[in-house]
Symmetry: C2
């Protein structure tokens, strides 16, 4: 993997990240393809949207269809016919949040499948084995992710585990095209974050992620932590803020120097009738759109906005036609990916701050 | 509207049907877009599939979003951004089959909405008004469609109503681009069918449909009726067999001289995991496809079969990803539309009988 920072604007960075499968321009948003498909989308849709990397969820794919099956069929790229890059998470976050009755030991986590209640164990070795079978381009360390707020004592014990597990992951032999990212934890405590970062730096990962944010803390707290912390991360490595976030959260994190993002928001909210526009989120269920012949976002160049009206999409959503979810998902993903492209241009022109101010103001204009 | 029979092969016909919106090659299969969308599909999908005409359901569109709303927004073509042809049914069939507590009077049908229980009345005038508001290219007469078996006495009374209503529909002034089709009823009674046909012939409709089949009778009974009846219909007008059907039913009806078809089977079955192939229907849920890296149909040229495996589609279907329904719907519609294109070529080469034998044998080979 090759990562180059090509331009900066303030602390914001524009770069390229090259894997065996694609050249990814950063800052990048990675659409979430939980179970080997981005919800409502096909692989050709993702190509059309210009995505260079998508995310797959280790926990879900391990349970169904099974990472051994995916390995037998040539790996996740081949299985879902996706030729560009894939990042897989470690499975940890879903083990804690989705499964029943999980029990954390020193070596990993025992948990019950949320599907059939069957018992499973995933620790650092198991997570690496699964991600190796999936064959993703970027592999994430298996970590512990404590919900916030969390006592300092608990956080230190958790960090110790995360760091021990990171070492085990680092020693695991992955496929030659795979790259391992470490995950900095430490909650909102800047000193613990720095301690975590130093510990991980010694292991020389291909990239570093910031985990354990957007897990219950206030938005301002997350922003402050990012402001105080991100610039201390190694400049020459990609920085990935896991599970974030809303458009303005991403914009703020880019401002602090983050390069990579993922979030289910554009896909999940689409299915609930929320479309993102340059003037903020729009709820298509609202009666005012019943006869509205404007496109969802008058400033958007996506194929949905070129062709369909708010009135039509509202009707389809109201009668529960899947086509509604498809149209809104496509638009929302375009919104995110276009926002990242625009951010990148602004950084390369060293005008990120202007862009930030303009985007922020417009997105908060509350037109809808 | 212009209809030309360009070639025949036995009783089978190949022709063109020209509306203001598109030139339709016949025999034609019309995908069903019940509520202003073919389920799982967008209008650009239907263009990509090569559909020249789709069907909309008057009953559904009348209830939601309302035909008045659609008229205000420029008609159904504009509303769903579909530039090619649209046929709308009369609403009758759904009023009888879906609504609660319907009551047929001499003038039409009182019924309760299946959505909110509200009371409505649709008769021939109301059906014409709604279809005029929708602005479809082909409008269907409002008829009564008795379930089979049905006593002769009842059928005669029903026919009388259907014919009176047909006259009212004929006298209704539609939009200038719209064309009205009469519907022959009479169940399995050849004499009644001929009587119905003669009555409708006097009203000089732009096309004629065969209604009241595939409503409870045996498949052999339908085939016999078509064999005895279709060739008696006017040669110079398009013949539409409503709501039919399975691939072999369509093949048989083409053999008797039918030009137009519609059916929810390719779209509905796709959502239930059934894909149509040249070797018969395939149930993707079957465990034997778990690691099957073949395309759904090895003989199919559609983009789904060019890219995805049975194993992948099976996985998506098993975990309830909408993408599965989308891929299978696209494939099934391609199967139907390609079958019609192949049938047309065979008729034009006057080799329909060979095609019929070959298709029949292969489709019944029970490979799956």
């Amino acid at each position: 993997m090759k990562f180059n920072v090509e331009a900066t604007s303030g602390k914001a960075r524009a770069g390229t990240l090259e894997t065996t499968h694609s050249k990814i321009e950063t800052p990048v948003f990675m659409p979430v393809g939980t179970r080997a498909a981005v919800k409502m989308m096909t692989s050709e849709d993702m190509e059309e949207l210009g995505a260079e990397i998508i995310l797959g969820n280790t926990y879900h794919l391990y349970l169904r269809p099974g990472s051994d099956l995916i390995e037998d069929l040539g790996g996740l790229h081949e299985f879902m016919s996706w030729k560009k890059s894939i990042l897989t998470d470690s499975g940890g976050f879903q083990v804690y949040s989705l499964s029943g009755l999980n029990k954390v030991t020193d070596d990993g986590v025992w948990f019950q499948s949320h599907i059939d209640g069957s018992k499973h164990f995933i620790g650092p070795n198991e997570s690496m084995k699964i991600q190796k079978e999936l064959g993703s381009d970027i592999v994430m360390c298996f970590d512990e992710c404590p919900a916030l707020p969390c006592t300092k004592e608990k956080m230190i014990a958790s960090l110790d585990k995360t760091h021990r597990w990171a070492k085990i992951c680092r020693e695991y032999e992955l496929q030659s095209h795979q790259n391992l990212f470490g995950i900095v934890q430490g909650g909102l405590d800047l000193e613990l974050r720095k301690f975590s970062l130093e510990t991980l730096n010694e292991m020389n990962f291909e990239g570093l992620a910031i985990g354990g944010l957007s897990v219950g803390e206030k938005n301002e707290e997350m922003r402050q932590l990012l402001e105080d912390f991100v610039f201390q991360m190694p400049e020459e490595k990609p920085r990935y803020l896991m599970g974030v976030g809303k458009p303005l959260d991403i914009l703020n994190a880019v401002k602090e120097g983050v390069d990579m993002f993922d979030c289910v928001l554009p896909t999940r909210n689409a299915r609930n009738g929320q479309m993102l526009t340059s003037k903020g989120p729009m709820n298509i269920k609202n009666e005012r759109y019943q006869r509205d012949q404007n496109p969802p976002d008058v400033n958007c160049s996506c194929k949905v906005c070129q062709r369909y009206t708010r009135a039509y999409i509202r009707h389809l959503h109201k009668v529960n036609e899947f086509t509604a979810g498809r149209l809104m998902t496509f638009h929302n993903l375009h919104f995110y990916l276009q926002m990242m492209r625009d951010i990148r241009v602004a950084i390369k022109e060293n005008k990120f701050d202007d862009f930030y101010q303009r985007f922020y103001k417009e997105f908060n204009s509350n037109e809808f």
